[in-house]
């Protein structure tokens, strides 16, 4: 009964993953005969590739910014919207809305908002007299990565709010009542009840957000294609360019393996940190 799925999955998932390992040991332009070069791709990647180091740095910055801000905003809004009142349900629905759009649509909408001449953001800034803040958001290598990060946060915060609300609703009301009796301030309630009780949900949100930042190909491609000067290039867009613009298939295969190892390492580290902070779940 599982046979058809196993066949397809082996042929189009497991077999490609294995051939990717093989490609990573080759010098290959995708057309002529591949040449076996052992671990040279990996050695070059780690010791002699400035672009790769830059992109890795971009990706680390992008991931940290998005994970910290998106998780923070989502938790903040979820604490505001935990109760199932009409207004709260409505606001959750509104916040969730960007999630249903495609990355390409979101990227192109924000390309308009950021447009240096006609864009909504600069038009608004100029209208209120802040002309010197009207920057070339996507076209300036100083800001492009942050501009894309803001878009990514806009895109997915609502989804994380919904996940957090589900988690926060599981927290027993007695805990808050007890805190009230003890005269705890809102901040103390948050620090001593909400935060520790929500840690398992935080672990889920952080892991999910992290994976999304490593998969942000569509958004980057729609907005900047990694530019200008690779300032918004991420690992996944770099892999694509190495293979389909630079025609270095073997080298790109080595890069994907590095990408996967990075994702695995990061998610493993996060899981460890969030687990050890959580006394109840060991």
């Amino acid at each position: 009964m599982a046979a058809p799925a196993i066949i397809l999955y082996s042929f189009l998932y497991l077999y490609p993953a294995l051939s990717n390992l093989l490609y990573s040991t080759q010098r290959w332009d995708g057309v002529t005969k591949p040449e076996f070069i052992g671990l040279k791709n990996f050695i070059h990647l780690l010791t002699d590739d400035d672009l790769f180091m830059k992109v890795l740095g971009n990706n680390v910055r992008f991931t940290i910014i998005v994970v910290v801000l998106q998780t923070g905003f989502a938790l903040l809004f979820a604490t505001f919207l935990t109760k199932n009142t009409k207004t709260n349900i409505f606001l959750r629905t509104v916040y969730f809305f960007p999630t249903i759009l495609s990355s390409v649509s979101v990227g192109l909408i924000w390309t308009f908002l950021y447009d240096p001449n006609y864009g909504f953001i600069n038009a608004t800034l100029k209208a209120i007299g802040l002309d010197n803040l009207a920057l070339n958001w996507l076209g300036d290598s100083k800001y492009s990565l942050y501009a894309v990060a803001v878009t990514q946060i806009w895109f997915h915060t609502g989804q994380m709010v919904v996940i957090y609300v589900a988690g926060l609703q599981q927290i027993p009301a007695e805990l808050y009542e007890a805190a009230d009796v003890d005269g705890a301030t809102r901040w103390q309630q948050f620090k001593n009840v909400t935060w520790p009780m929500a840690l398992p949900t935080t672990a889920v949100v952080v892991a999910y957000t992290t994976i999304q930042t490593f998969r942000a190909f569509d958004l980057i491609y729609a907005m900047t294609q990694g530019g200008p000067l690779n300032s918004s290039d991420l690992l996944v867009t770099m892999v694509y360019n190495t293979a389909f613009v630079g025609y270095k298939f073997g080298y790109a295969a080595a890069q994907t393996i590095f990408l996967v190892l990075t994702v695995m390492l990061v998610t493993w580290l996060q899981r460890r940190v969030l687990r050890t902070n959580d006394g109840t779940k060991k």
Partner: protein
């Protein structure tokens, strides 16, 4: 008091942050470029469907729309059929095979699908499956199988075993139990998973970008990307195309909100 002010203003600001760009797009699809630049948030001076008509007349969105519907619907359908069969096999066999099967598909959860872009590209070029909508369906099904198996089998495992056992004692074979007991019971899970998959398949850019370059085989995300170049600064046409591309999602969101949110957060279990 201060808390209340802080809370309400934060909530209002973020609601505006979501609603303003969305309104600009919706209103913009009825406007001319100049109107979008000068008064992005004002109501259109004349409500008319000129932009939509231009899109229809040039045919530039209708074909990709059809292609996207075809690819997404069949990708979801085949993924659900194949994944639910595997999930059933995993849930029913208490013996070693269930565990082996589960482990096998768990590998797929650990290896992100992006690893496969280069091998899939070379394999599909060899098999002449590039520039083929069937090829895209195959890729989508293969890539989304692991996560779907994971979600559906978690649901099957929660069903009481007695349901299956009683049917088996009554002489029903696995196919029958799968078709007339497991699947009908799993309807909510199947619904949420389908939506989750539909969003992925409908929105995917990476694989179409890699595999498709013939004009009449393009899907919507590819066409939207082309729009940026083609109508260099025509945001009115771009916004109209974005509207058309988003219609199925918006309809699903409005009419099946519960499954929609369940579906898009189900991926969180193991994104």
């Amino acid at each position: 008091m201060i808390y209340k002010i802080f809370k309400n203003s934060m909530l209002a600001i973020y609601a505006a942050a979501v609603l303003v760009p969305s309104s600009i797009v919706v209103l913009g699809s009825f406007k001319s470029d100049v109107e979008i630049y000068t008064k992005p948030l004002a109501l259109p001076q004349h409500w008319n469907l000129n932009n939509f008509r231009t899109l229809v007349d040039t045919g530039s969105v209708w074909i990709p729309f059809k292609n996207s519907v075809f690819v997404s619907v069949f990708s979801v359908l085949f993924t659900i059929i194949l994944a639910s069969m595997v999930a059933y096999a995993i849930a029913r066999s208490i013996t070693i095979t269930g565990k082996v099967l589960f482990a096998m598909f768990s590998i797929g959860l650990a290896i992100p699908g992006q690893v496969n872009i280069i091998p899939i590209f070379t394999l599909f070029t060899k098999l002449h499956l590039n520039n083929s909508l069937y090829g895209l369906i195959l890729v989508n099904v293969a890539l989304t199988l692991p996560i779907s198996v994971f979600i559906i089998s978690a649901f099957f495992k929660d069903l009481p075993k007695e349901l299956f056992e009683v049917a088996s004692i009554d002489g029903a074979n696995h196919w029958r139990v799968y078709r007339s007991i497991a699947m009908p019971l799993a309807r909510p899970a199947i619904g949420a998973t389908s939506i989750f998959l539909f969003v992925i398949d409908w929105n995917d850019l990476l694989y179409p970008l890699m595999l498709i370059n013939e004009l009449d085989k393009k899907t919507l995300p590819l066409t939207l990307i082309d729009f940026r170049g083609e109508f260099a600064t025509s945001y009115s046409m771009l916004f109209t195309a974005i509207m058309v591309a988003s219609i199925p999602m918006v309809l699903m969101y409005v009419f099946a909100q519960r499954s929609f949110i369940a579906g898009l957060t189900a991926g969180a279990v193991k994104g």
